[in-house]
C-alpha cells in the first residue's frame, strides 16, 4: 500500500541523513528558496492496485515516483510505502524496503559493464540469494522478455528496446510488492509495448501494486485503470 498525505517536495531541501530528525524550522529555511515541485498530494493506492500516473512532461511524475521508490524524502507531509513512514524512518530501514520495490527507469540505468544476465541477477545477489538458486530465475526472466540469446551482451551492445526489456526483467525478478515504471514503453515498438504492458498487468494480477507513469493515451486506453493526474505538481484528477 502507498499512502500520501499532504505531501510537498522541494529539491534542494536538506534530506534528513540517517533518519535523524532535524528541526522543522531548519528544513523550511533551507528549502524556502526553491518552489515546491509537488504540492499537497494526498491519495492512497491500495495493495494490489494498478494505477496510471499521467501528466505532461515536468508535471512532477518522476518526482512522485522517486518519492515512492525511496530515492527522496518528502519536504513536508507523510509518505507511507509498504507500511513504513518514509519521512520518519531510520536510514538503515530503507534498503530492506527498497528490495521489495521494483523500478523501471525511463533511462534504464543498467550497469554498463555487466552483462544482461548479471544486470538482472544484481537485485537477487544484493538480497543475498545463492548463485545456484538465482540462475534459474534470471534465465527464465530473460527468456520471458525474449533475451535468452543475449545473456552475455553488455548494455552498450544492445538496442534501446533490448535495454528496456533488461531493465524490466531486473525490476520484476525479485517479485516486488510494489512495481514502479517510468515510461516503460518509451523505447519500444507497438508489439513490444503491448507485451511489456501485459507483463506489468500480469504482475499486478499476481498481487503486486503497480504504478506506471506515461503520457501515452493509447497505452491507457488499452488497459483502463484508475489514474493519478498531475499538473504543475498538483493532483488535478484522482481516479
Amino acid at each position: 500500500m502507498v499512502r500520501f498525505s499532504e505531501v510537498g517536495l522541494r529539491y534542494g531541501a536538506p534530506q534528513r541523513p540517517l533518519g535523524a530528525r532535524r528541526g522543522e524550522a531548519a528544513r523550511q529555511a533551507g528549502a524556502a528558496t526553491r518552489p515546491e515541485v509537488l504540492r499537497d498530494l494526498s491519495f492512497t493506492l491500495p495493495a494490489g492496485s494498478f494505477t496510471w500516473l499521467l501528466g505532461a512532461s515536468g508535471a512532477g511524475k518522476s518526482s512522485l515516483l522517486r518519492l515512492m521508490q525511496l530515492a527522496l524524502r518528502p519536504t513536508r507531509g507523510t509518505v507511507e510505502v509498504l507500511g513504513l513512514d518514509i519521512g520518519g524512518a531510520r536510514r538503515w530501514q530503507l534498503p530492506h524496503l527498497r528490495r521489495r520495490i521494483g523500478v523501471v527507469f525511463q533511462d534504464f540505468r543498467l550497469l554498463p559493464h555487466l552483462t544482461a544476465f548479471d544486470n538482472v541477477a544484481l537485485p537477487l545477489r544484493l538480497a543475498g540469494r545463492p548463485e545456484g538458486q538465482l540462475r534459474a530465475d534470471v534465465l527464465e526472466m530473460l527468456r520471458w522478455v525474449g533475451l535468452d540469446s543475449r545473456l552475455h551482451a553488455l548494455p552498450p551492445e544492445m538496442s534501446g528496446g533490448e535495454q528496456q526489456r533488461v531493465a524490466i526483467a531486473r525490476a520484476v525478478v525479485t517479485r516486488p510488492a510494489l512495481l514502479l515504471a517510468d515510461e516503460p514503453t518509451g523505447n519500444l515498438d507497438a508489439p513490444q509495448a503491448r507485451r511489456v504492458l501485459a507483463l506489468v498487468g500480469e504482475m499486478n494480477r499476481l498481487g503486486t501494486t503497480v504504478v506506471v507513469a506515461t503520457h501515452s493515451q493509447e497505452l491507457v486506453a488499452r488497459q483502463p485503470a484508475p489514474a493519478l493526474r498531475l499538473e504543475g505538481g498538483r493532483l488535478v484528477g484522482d481516479r
Binding site: 541523513p17 548463485e131 534459474a136
Partner: protein, 364 residues
C-alpha cells in the same frame, strides 16, 4: 524483435510461485551456461577494477611503504647504535689522576676519615710505580667524588696489569716511570644529558688537582642521546607516513566514488546497504594497498641491507664485505617489514570504509 511479440504474455513460473523446485530452470537451457561470466563479473558490479586503478594507488602506497620501511630501518639503526655505544667499551669515560698516591685535597665529597697512613706528609710525591703499592688517597678521593655523581653508574680504577699491558708497546717494561691513576667511568645510559668533561674536572679539582677527564666517552653518551632522538623522529615519520597513506587512500576512494556515482545510485535503488557498497570499495582498496605496500617493502629490503652494511663497522660488525652483508641481513627489522603490507592493507580498508560510508550519507 518479433520474437517477443510472438510469445504469449504468461509470466514466468518464478513470478507466480514463492518457491521453486530445484532444477526448475527452463527447458533447453542447461544450468550453468550463464554462470561462468556471471560469477566472474559479480564481484565487480561497480566496475571498480577501472575506477580504482591498479597503477596509481599501489604506486603511491608502495612509495609510502618504502618511506615507512626507511623510517623503520632508521629507528632500528638508531636503537642499535644507541645500545651499542652506551653499553660497549666505547661508553667509558677515562679520568687521569696525577700523583694518585698523594694526599687528597680536603673536599666535602671526600670520606670523613681516611686511613692514618694517608695523612703522612713524607709520602714520596710520585710514589706510584707500576710495581709499587696500590695507589691511595687522591685516587680514592676522586673515586668517591665520581661515585657521588648521579649520572655516573660505575667508576673503577684501572688495575696495574692492564695499564702495563696498554703501555708496553710504547714504553716497554719501563717499570720506574711515574704513572697517573686512571679511573674508568660508565655513565648512566638513561641520564638525559650527561655531565660535561669540564664540570667533571671542576668537581675533581677540589680533591685531586690536575685531574684530566678524557671526553671521548662523553661524546659517545651525547651521541647516544642523539640516537634516541633520531629514533623518536623515525617513529614520528612513520606515523606521518601512515597518515599520508590514509589521506591518499581517501582521495583515491573519493575519485572512485565520483567515477561510479551512477552505478552506486543504481545499487542504492536496488536495495544495497551502505555496508554492501563500502565493502566492495574496501575490498578493492585492501588488495591494492596490500600489493603496493608489498612492493614498497620489497624495494626497501636491499636498500636497508646496503645501509646496514655501511653501518656495520660502527656497530661492531665485521667491516669485510662477505660477513658484513650477512650481518646487515640479520640486522634488518624483519618483523616490522613483514607487518608493513598487512598494516597498509588494513589502513586502506578502514579508510575506504569510512570514506564510502560518509559519502553515502548524502543518499536518502
Amino acid at each position: 524483435m518479433s520474437a517477443i511479440a510472438d510469445r504469449d504474455a504468461a509470466p514466468p513460473a518464478g513470478l507466480a510461485a514463492e518457491t521453486r523446485p530445484a532444477g526448475g530452470g527452463p527447458a533447453g537451457t542447461p544450468p550453468g551456461t550463464a554462470s561462468r561470466p556471471g560469477r566472474r563479473r559479480d564481484r565487480d558490479p561497480l566496475g571498480l577494477r577501472r575506477a580504482l586503478s591498479d597503477r596509481l594507488l599501489p604506486g603511491l602506497v608502495a612509495a609510502m611503504a618504502l618511506l615507512a620501511a626507511l623510517a623503520l630501518g632508521g629507528a632500528r639503526g638508531a636503537a642499535t647504535l644507541a645500545a651499542r655505544w652506551q653499553t660497549g667499551a666505547a661508553a667509558a669515560v677515562l679520568v687521569q689522576v696525577p700523583e694518585p698516591a698523594a694526599p687528597a685535597a680536603p673536599a666535602e665529597g671526600a670520606p670523613a676519615g681516611g686511613p692514618p697512613a694517608a695523612r703522612r706528609l713524607d709520602a714520596p710525591p710520585a710514589a706510584r710505580r707500576l710495581d709499587g703499592p696500590p695507589a691511595a688517597r687522591r685516587l680514592d678521593a676522586a673515586l668517591a667524588a665520581l661515585r657521588s655523581i648521579p649520572s655516573v653508574s660505575e667508576a673503577r680504577p684501572m688495575d696495574d696489569a692492564r695499564m702495563q699491558a696498554l703501555l708496553r708497546p710504547w714504553l716497554g717494561d719501563a717499570a720506574d716511570l711515574p704513572l697517573p691513576g686512571v679511573i674508568e667511568l660508565r655513565l648512566d645510559p638513561d641520564a638525559a644529558l650527561p655531565e660535561g668533561a669540564d664540570s667533571l674536572e671542576a668537581r675533581l679539582a677540589a680533591v685531586a688537582p690536575g685531574a684530566l677527564v678524557e671526553s671521548h666517552g662523553l661524546w659517545v653518551a651525547r651521541l647516544g642521546a642523539l640516537a634516541r632522538s633520531l629514533q623518536a623522529v623515525s617513529l614520528a615519520a612513520l606515523l606521518l607516513v601512515a597518515g599520508v597513506a590514509a589521506a591518499v587512500v581517501a582521495v583515491a576512494t573519493r575519485a572512485g566514488l565520483i567515477a561510479r556515482r551512477e552505478a552506486i545510485g543504481v545499487l542504492h535503488t536496488l536495495g544495497a546497504t551502505d555496508g554492501d557498497i563500502a565493502r566492495r570499495f574496501a575490498r578493492r582498496v585492501f588488495a591494492l594497498a596490500g600489493a603496493g605496500a608489498l612492493m614498497g617493502a620489497a624495494l626497501a629490503v636491499p636498500l636497508l641491507a646496503g645501509l646496514a652494511g655501511l653501518a656495520a663497522p660502527l656497530l661492531g660488525g665485521a667491516a669485510g664485505a662477505g660477513s658484513g652483508i650477512g650481518w646487515a641481513w640479520a640486522g634488518l627489522p624483519w618483523a616490522e617489514l613483514v607487518a608493513l603490507p598487512p598494516l597498509a592493507a588494513l589502513i586502506g580498508w578502514a579508510t575506504a570504509q569510512l570514506t564510502v560510508r560518509r559519502w553515502l550519507r548524502r543518499l536518502p
